[in-house]
Subunit: 481 residues, 2 copies
């Protein structure tokens, strides 16, 4: 649980203890993979606790991916742990808001993002070899030849209509039915989030975020003088709605800024039902949601997960996204669908940058109209899926006992929990000396939690990266020894 | 005078009356061009006012460009009025700050900026034929061929080092001695100003601006919830330092945001001495200056006017500029030199947009390194100078008696005062019906002053524009009739 981690009463304490005990039994092999565990009634009798305490303990274990309920048959030890390493648990950040100060830490991590002498397992920068670079570049050249000086004029906000038409078409996959007029082109998703926060918050306001969350979001909050309220988040199912409800009841939350699809660094993807429930919760408390959907297209299997925005009937959700994680970061092309905040966002975009660069807009519009995006996307997602599983295997082989790693169903990031004794900032420094860059966990938390976590970028994979993981494993052994 | 327009005492009233009387005599031809007017002592005796009252009246007339002092020889009627139409006087905005609300008005004016069916005398968008488009486009194509997918990766803030080196070299012409590390690349001058304002102001703060000023600056203030304090500004010499001192003494001014070189729409260019005095005034009151130098390179004669920043020894000036008015608006390339606000601006840029588009940065860096900028700039400035003088002549021929027009020494804008009876918003609408777009005066004022002013864009000139001015003249006659 979640709101549970906010110590409220004896019962909370009881079911957490119970869940921990069962987790230990599973880890020790007392209960084995796919085996049935005691029924709720039996365990309640055996441990002399209430039925509801056992239910809450099982609910917690289920959320951690350790057990699963089977219809009319009880609870079983989960068989989902593909890499053989357990997943990290739902997080338990502190329940009060805080000022944010991560900029220096982020700068430290980003400084080596372009250093070709290092093995890049750090910043989540897509690898150039996965961009649709040939097609994008040839499209740019054709446009220059056709249009000449016109490619150098302003393309005033809201931006190229043809590009907005193409984005509206793409959004259908996310369940969203936009008119091109609903969309404003931005300088990447970063500008979109900055505009959204400026539209709905004032300095000093509290914004609820996932914990952990993308450090760029923390930088947004820091720059705007906003306070972060970190909400417990599950590595598969995303933000805890119980904890969020608790927060909304007890804190003056001005807005939520979530990454429901393939959260960075967790890789969590909120089920559709949770998205609906999230929205009804926000409707109840009249709080806007800034939804960052930058990785929504990067699912490995089945259907594209819907955007929370697709369930929004009140214009409550401000959708922010970009092409920086799938097609091309250097174009700095993103968009915002501001819903009921349209007027404020429109003004702010004019004030913030007047217009987004012209040639990238024209190029992207033509690239998308040409229909190559789907094909290209399948190619990079195949690569990501392969790389994620190769990276997981490498971690399993090289990292010490007690390591936990996420099993994301999309994206290209792994979130790794190391033994408690490892300080990831020390690991970061030692890895750098060994020619490897990673991202230490505290960068993803306003309170610099996740001291023994790291994020690995598996956007591309290679022999040197495999060797780097092995080397990291040895460094971790030394640091934890 | 200026602070004088803030009615304080009888003396102020006296010297304004005196100045008005002499102005009427000059207009009536009683005192003719290049003729000597009565000495200070004589007039003092004749009018039974103090020496200092006459001195102030003469100072005022001098500022208006109606008379000029000759060394050891007295005052003469000015011979500077090249178009034969007088220049507008120094402005006299209201002396208290106000909230800003110009967005709708600006949107109205901008909506037709790209309408090719209209004669474009409106938005200050450089004409595509004056861009260095061939060279920029061929540079883009070469870079794509050389670098391939690399042109699509991030070029993280502070931006391309090579581009910052080139900008530091250019800044030498403005008297500034920057290291590339002092410079942060932005998405145009608009983002630079937004970052600067966010670094030094909080919502509700008062910012001193020139009156009139560029509407984009008013949009910046509006979006950030800042109050505008409009300072009297002279069409040649820029902001009135007396009035500014008065304002600093009586209002809680948090920052100044000025365009000292070729202010838009006035075309005023502050003399170097005034810039020094401005800076010592700001040092005295400990107020930062956000300096927009976007048109500084567009001088017609002699030396490039220095940036106020070049006199700054305390890191007090935040310099903002871009290539949007001389080379290429569609690249969205600007820069900021934040001085002592470097830390805040660095954070804000990361939060605002992380990076500026890559290919435009690389292209511009190579274009500048190739050395074609100076040659190109001479070409467009020749064109601007020619166009400004053609447009002035056309206005003189077509517009009714009582029209006043600026005589800028750089840039490509004319600021025209029409007879009092003309409402420029009505004129705007009537002109639009007649296929012409202009910018009405109220767009340039937080209080929507300048009701009978318009701004004309003479970045390019052509027979249809000449005819449009003639048509405008007839419409004005009708409206003032």
């Amino acid at each position: 649980m979640t709101a549970s981690r906010i110590p409220t009463d004896k019962k909370t304490w009881l079911y957490q203890m119970l869940a921990d005990e069962i987790a230990r039994l599973i880890e020790a092999g007392t209960f084995r993979k796919a085996e049935r565990i005691p029924s709720v009634r039996n365990l309640s009798r055996q441990k002399k606790v209430s039925i509801s305490t056992v239910q809450q303990a099982y609910f917690l274990l289920e959320k951690k991916g350790l057990i699963e309920a089977r219809h009319k048959s009880g609870y079983y030890v989960s068989d989902r742990r593909r890499t053989g390493l357990p997943e990290p648990e739902e997080t338990s950040p502190r329940p009060d808001p805080t000022r944010v100060s991560v900029h220096e830490l982020v700068m430290m991590v980003l400084q080596d993002a372009h250093n070709r002498d290092l093995v890049q397992l750090g910043p989540a920068i897509p690898s150039p070899e996965v961009f649709a670079s040939k097609k994008l570049n040839s499209t740019t050249i054709s446009l220059i030849r056709e249009l000449g000086g016109q490619t150098l004029g302003y393309e005033m906000s809201p931006g190229s209509r043809e590009l907005r038409v193409q984005i509206a078409r793409l959004a259908l996959n996310a369940g969203c039915d936009f008119s091109p007029d609903d969309i404003i082109i931005t300088s990447g998703c970063t500008e979109a989030m900055d505009l959204a926060l400026r539209a709905v918050c004032r300095p000093g306001d509290t914004v609820a975020i996932e914990s952990p969350t993308y450090f760029g979001i923390l930088q947004n909050l820091e720059a705007l003088g906003l306070r972060a309220l970190e909400i417990p988040t599950h590595p598969r199912e995303g933000v805890s709605l119980d904890a969020l409800r608790f927060a909304l009841e007890h804190q003056p939350v001005r807005a939520c800024l979530f990454v429901p699809n393939f959260n960075n660094p967790l890789g969590s993807c909120m089920p559709g039902e949770n998205k609906k429930e999230l929205l009804s919760l926000l409707n109840e408390f009249d709080v806007p949601l800034i939804e960052n959907d930058i990785s929504g297209e990067l699912y490995f299997e089945g259907e594209r997960p819907r955007a929370t925005k697709s369930f929004d009937e009140q214009g409550r959700v401000i959708l922010c996204s970009s092409f920086s994680k799938d097609l091309c970061p250097g174009f700095r092309l993103g968009w915002i669908v501001p819903g009921r905040s349209a007027e404020a966002v429109t003004r702010l975009k004019f004030s913030a940058s007047l217009a987004t660069a012209t040639l990238p807009q024209l190029t992207m519009a033509r690239f998308l109209a040409g229909g190559g995006y789907g094909h290209y996307l399948r190619r990079i997602k195949r690569a990501h899926k392969h790389n994620i599983s190769a990276a997981s295997r490498a971690v399993k082989l090289a990292f010490p006992k007690g390591t936990q790693v996420t099993q994301p169903s999309g994206g290209y990031l792994l979130w790794v929990k190391l033994p408690d004794t490892v300080d990831s900032l020390e690991l970061y420094k030692a890895a750098l000396k060994s020619g490897i860059t990673i991202v230490p966990g505290p960068v993803f938390s306003a309170r610099r939690q996740y001291r023994n976590f790291i994020r690995l970028n598996a956007a591309s994979w290679s022999r040197p990266k495999e060797e780097a993981i092995a080397r990291l494993g040895r460094i971790i052994e030394e640091l934890s020894g």
